[in-house]
Symmetry: none
Subunit: 206 residues, 4 copies
Amino acid sequence: SAAPTFKPIHTRRTFEEICERIREQLALGVLKPGDKLPAERELAQQLGVSRNVLREALRSLEMAGVLKLQKGVKGGAFIQQGDTRRMNEVMRDMLSLGTISVRELSEARVHVLDLVVQLACANARRADLDALEANIERTELATKEGRLLDRVECSREFYKLLAASTGNKVIAMIVDSVTEIHMRFVYAKVASSGVAMARLAEKRRQ
Amino acid sequence: SAAPTFKPIHTRRTFEEICERIREQLALGVLKPGDKLPAERELAQQLGVSRNVLREALRSLEMAGVLKLQKGVKGGAFIQQGDTRRMNEVMRDMLSLGTISVRELSEARVHVLDLVVQLACANARRADLDALEANIERTELATKEGRLLDRVECSREFYKLLAASTGNKVIAMIVDSVTEIHMRFVYAKVASSGVAMARLAEKRRQ
Amino acid sequence: SAAPTFKPIHTRRTFEEICERIREQLALGVLKPGDKLPAERELAQQLGVSRNVLREALRSLEMAGVLKLQKGVKGGAFIQQGDTRRMNEVMRDMLSLGTISVRELSEARVHVLDLVVQLACANARRADLDALEANIERTELATKEGRLLDRVECSREFYKLLAASTGNKVIAMIVDSVTEIHMRFVYAKVASSGVAMARLAEKRRQ
Amino acid sequence: SAAPTFKPIHTRRTFEEICERIREQLALGVLKPGDKLPAERELAQQLGVSRNVLREALRSLEMAGVLKLQKGVKGGAFIQQGDTRRMNEVMRDMLSLGTISVRELSEARVHVLDLVVQLACANARRADLDALEANIERTELATKEGRLLDRVECSREFYKLLAASTGNKVIAMIVDSVTEIHMRFVYAKVASSGVAMARLAEKRRQ
DNA sequence: GTGGTCTAGACCACA
DNA sequence: GTGGTCTAGACCACG
């Protein structure tokens, strides 16, 4: 018979295996936010690994925002609430490593915002609308008074509120992450032109 | 005279300090993707820390997709292109931690896929279309021959190809991450309804 | 005169020679279970062979259950007590290679179990009976609570305890090896009829 | 909630992973006795491992009797027919490592033989009975002529034929392995007493 | 022979 | 007492 083909082997390192186990317990609901893992020394013994390797795993999960390590006698490794800001970090790193481009990010943002507006129109609740309206007023005031940086801040807040109005945290997370980067560029632009305007104003006073 | 104010001391953990140093070199352009860091033992000595601590730092950067550690005599720590799979982990963890729900994920997936189809139609190139068509053929074959798990695998691949056809890696990353989780559920469902493999094997030998 | 007869020459491979040497030391009582061999590098030098060849030899002996290789600063190659699980591998391989059939295995299992029950009745000690009783309780609990996979695990443990109760490790090894394969089939069957775990997990979190 | 308990982690070494893969293909029936594995270099590339590690795996499977490595132009790694003698080796090693005792072995042998006789009576075919009868005649002849060692050899053959008469290779393998060791003791005893008898005969001649 | 991985056990800083 | 840090030395894998 024909020689079978074999897939490449990937031997997991010990700490990866440990991460996987803990994430499993999480997915199964055995571990929930707020829970505390056994002490490092004890857990290491339970898993039959050295403390160093266990620490590599815990560090990894801490970086991922899954755990929070606290020192002291009442300390330990605690399961955390999910942190929606992690996606922002991913986007930022992708950009700075050149994996994605500003053009792709902007394009994606336009399309996703289009989607967000539709969803927000369909699902926004009273409180969402009130918050949006209040934000718009603040924005107009800042515009009229020429507080440019405040205006940018209002704008960022606007998108955050809009995202929340969709009632879908996945969508919200996505749009937040791309908007966050977009606004950083806007902020930088405005800040630099702000300096120019300040000089202009000063000149005019002379 | 005014009492001097002291900034709170934040004793960074050693490995965080190391991460920072390496990221600095990256931001300064001294290190670029593809570059190789000194060997563990040597770098540890250069930094004046133990190899364990250095490993914690390297591990962090590897998790963040900045580095890739390779074994062997030609091995070492290499600066990497960004890793698209990080977003999958984020999604998975958010779900596990209960920050987002399956309902939100499914809903988001439907809307994002809608967007993806539009973009793919507009931007797909010849090679993309060929790959999609080949995938569809494989899927039909698997369906006809009753290879259920293979069919699921084809399906997963289909969405990946579709995402790539948009020509926008940001969009692709997003749809990949939500689809990955979706397919995990599908896979579990199909696998649980699978037949006993052992009997089949015995039959084949006869 | 009669033509002389020559015995076929068997050029031993180096690693076989090394295995033989170590087994000799074992048979002579120079090495005993628990003893530690010199470090890889040193032993390789003593024997005048490369580390790779030595590793092959140590690997062979580890597979044969004679050695146990442990990592770390207190690690090394330690002479071990015999490993009962080797017979399981033999059974599994015989089945895979088609030397024995599932039918023969099942038949053998029935007859051997019959024997085991007799011996266990005759020789079981207080501790054995206690362990069996505790196992039965766990089994009933798992049954009542519908934890199917746990129930299978209990069942496997039951046969192990029963085998141990005979007070004869040879008999125990035999019944363990055939039961192991039997339970593998049972496990596969039960697992394939399992419910979706993910939904359960989500429910638990709510 | 209560801290969950974690099971010990077992990180497989690369060569163990490879063995597992090959055994899987075997269990699934993709590989069958007589099949040839890809060449070392190619297989190593397919698996993404170094040749050294692959060799460790192949060696391991050769020791286990699953593979046979042949040198030369038409050489390679061939899947073998299962070798029933492997269980003998296991028994012998267990005994020499002190895991099992002679007492346990003898006891087990008595009980298993009891079982074998029953099964042989029920399942023996004409050819089996003929072979047994021929063996008995040879035995009687050897006894009458005082060829003690030949008599032992006949006895060993008798048990082998009896085992084969059960029509169950699993049972046969088991009884063969325990009988093999038993007969070694008998052989040693007879051989030493044979020397004594030979001297006696010599004395008588004087 | 080089470099990555893992281990045991120690000491320190903290709450 | 907990996490944080560190060391020396062993196996594991590569070319």
